[in-house]
């Protein structure tokens, strides 16, 4: 215990003296939170759409004003010109071009099926998909408005037969920030845990001080625990500040209990830091550890459900997530915050993270060599 105390004391002294690391740990995460929560949004707003009205009728004019009034679109009008159309998409002047054909109104009134052409720039497939849906809804809205005039057509056919009224539980307004904020917090906490621990050990290798440690009778588990604990504490600290930030700045709900949050955060940090320790075991330079860490970290983030839905991934990808600590923690954090889940509700994730943490730390201690 005495030895552990000395190790931890030394780590904290070094961290608090490092003029670059200190802000990295205690200030930058919160600047990142603010920037990312405000900017990283998947909501569609003010998308450029170009409308070519070849009909110039009352209904088409109405459709255009509907688009203009929508917060989702920024409308620009254009006359039909094939070259200009392809140019507009090619040069990114617009995201989508909607062409209202001639005789749009006439055909509608006489019950002839009408076709509206929507050209989408699908380089960003996610936003083009959303635009498609929004455009469809806006156009359908027009049919409803003009129902009295369009008595001849069978509206039942044009409109969805089942009127689905979604009720979004746990995030009623689908507030995107409530989705992103826990994600960003998770990333920050794990980055600090995994990266800093790993770099810390590799730095001792580069400086040569590890050799002096290795000639002492210190046990491997003591040395690695001395590296792990300070960063668990820092991770918890960062998460706490981040949550307070979220609650007071973004009205982030905190339905669950603080203690459930801390239990899972400690488990997750141990699991993540275990990976950091393992990587440090196998790298001799910061460069090596940096690349290994980035490799794992990117996979963890992108597959863990921070930004995308895990359920829509192929089965093999979901299988990989079994060894992704972020996958468990991400779900847990959102459930605790938005749903108010307790440890018992999340018991599977609890065991998974516990086993994960014990395994990685155990393997890291086993793989650590006091010989060079």
């Amino acid at each position: 215990m005495r030895i552990l105390y000395r190790l931890i004391l030394k780590e904290f002294k070094q961290i608090f003296r490092n003029k670059i690391m200190l802000p990295v740990i205690f200030i930058i995460p919160f600047i990142q939170t603010i920037i990312l929560v405000y900017s990283a949004t998947l909501e569609l707003k003010n998308s450029d759409i170009t409308i070519i009205d070849m009909d110039k009728s009352m209904i088409s004019a109405n459709l255009i004003s509907k688009f203009q009034a929508s917060p989702f679109f920024k409308v620009e009008l254009m006359s039909y010109n094939e070259k200009e159309i392809s140019d507009a998409l090619l040069k990114d002047k617009t995201k989508a071009i909607l062409i209202i054909p001639k005789d749009f109104e006439k055909n509608l009134r006489s019950g002839i099926p009408v076709k509206i052409l929507l050209n989408l720039n699908a380089i960003d497939s996610q936003s083009s998909g959303l635009i498609n849906i929004y455009v469809g809804q806006t156009v359908l809205g027009i049919f409803k408005d003009f129902k009295p005039f369009l008595s001849k057509i069978d509206l039942e056919q044009q409109m969805p037969k089942v009127d689905i009224r979604p009720s979004y539980w746990y995030n009623q307004n689908l507030n995107f920030k409530f989705f992103m904020l826990p994600g960003i917090l998770t990333i920050l906490v794990s980055m600090i845990g995994i990266f800093l621990t790993s770099f810390n050990i590799v730095r001792e290798k580069e400086m040569g001080t590890i050799e002096q440690i290795n000639v002492t009778p210190i046990e491997k588990w003591q040395f690695l625990t001395g590296k792990l604990l300070p960063f668990v504490l820092i991770g918890i600290f960062d998460l706490t500040i981040g949550l307070l930030f979220g609650i007071f700045m973004f009205d982030l709900p905190f339905e669950g209990s603080v203690y459930t949050m801390f239990i899972f955060t400690i488990l997750f940090l141990i699991a993540g830091i275990g990976i950091g320790l393992l990587i440090a075991d196998f790298s001799n330079t910061l460069q090596q550890s940096m690349f290994m860490l980035l490799f794992f970290f990117l996979i963890f983030i992108l597959m863990g459900g921070t930004f995308t839905a895990v359920e829509s991934m192929p089965d093999w990808a979901q299988a990989i997530n079994v060894v992704n600590p972020m996958y468990y923690y991400m779900r847990v954090v959102r459930s605790i915050l938005l749903k108010g889940s307790g440890v018992l509700d999340l018991i599977k994730d609890f065991w998974a993270l516990l086993v994960y943490g014990i395994t990685t730390v155990f393997v890291a201690v086993w793989a650590y060599r006091k010989t060079v």
Partner: protein, 250 residues
């Protein structure tokens, strides 16, 4: 057993290979208790490899190696309690003060706070570092860093201390002071195992071995070696040995 009691290090047929390269080729030697044992050799002769094996940082490929009465294959952690080590590189944390470095390493050896405090006060007195103890190691001159690294290496009162080129790059006066510390350690029953490139320092040793190409080509007191090689000083002994070897290689 009597041999073990007299000899703090016993090495028989030590071989260390890195792939095809033989760094230590069948080394055989003993180091007696409380002597200063000089371990000389050209760059790349295999001195550091041997030191690392003796201090438990490297596994030997084969051979028998006993340090402080314990086998390096089996009891490395007991050996580590009984030895001190000062490497070529810097073992001190630059961003910690002198005092913090010593407290840290002493703590790792399991010394109690009271004991650390007491011994540290002694050390401050001895080295006259009252003003320096709260300074960061990075701001100290090289000579002081090395004296303090040495003090760290023997702070837990080991039976044996390994010094790997402890005086490289410092001025003659500091070297002189460093050797005073070494003599003092020997008086306190600490055996000193030292590698050096300064051949005048070799004269201060009780016995010397000279390594050439992974082998020990000469071993004895400075006087014996000078006689054997018909040389005026250790410099000549060294040059003759290394030159002979180079001639053989050609």
């Amino acid at each position: 057993m009597t041999e073990t009691e007299e000899n703090i290090i016993e090495v028989k047929n030590l071989v260390k290979k890195f792939g095809n390269f033989t760094a230590n080729d069948n080394l055989c030697f003993e180091v007696k208790k409380s002597e200063i044992f000089g371990f000389l050799g050209a760059n790349g002769a295999g001195k550091t490899t041997a030191i690392k094996i003796l201090s438990g940082l490297l596994f030997p490929t084969s051979g028998k190696v006993m340090v402080a009465g314990y086998d390096v294959y089996k009891h490395r952690n007991i050996i580590k309690k009984n030895i001190g080590y000062m490497s070529q590189g810097f073992s001190l944390y630059e961003d910690l003060t002198v005092k913090e470095n010593i407290e840290f390493y002493a703590g790792i050896y399991g010394l109690r706070s009271k004991e650390i405090k007491f011994r540290f006060a002694e050390l401050v007195e001895k080295l006259g570092i009252q003003d320096m103890q709260k300074e960061f190691v990075k701001s100290l001159p090289l000579g002081w860093k090395q004296k303090i690294a040495f003090s760290v290496a023997i702070f837990h009162k080991p039976k044996l201390v390994f010094l790997d080129e402890p005086t490289s790059g410092v001025d003659p006066i500091t070297r002189r002071q460093f050797w005073d510390l070494i003599y003092e350690a020997v008086e306190n029953d600490i055996t000193v195992f030292i590698t050096t490139h300064y051949l005048d320092e070799a004269e201060y040793c009780d016995r010397i071995s000279i390594m050439v190409d992974g082998r020990i080509d000469a071993l004895g007191t400075p006087a014996e070696l000078k006689q054997e090689f018909n040389a005026k000083n250790m410099d000549e002994v060294f040059v003759k040995l290394v030159r002979n070897n180079n001639l053989q290689n050609e």
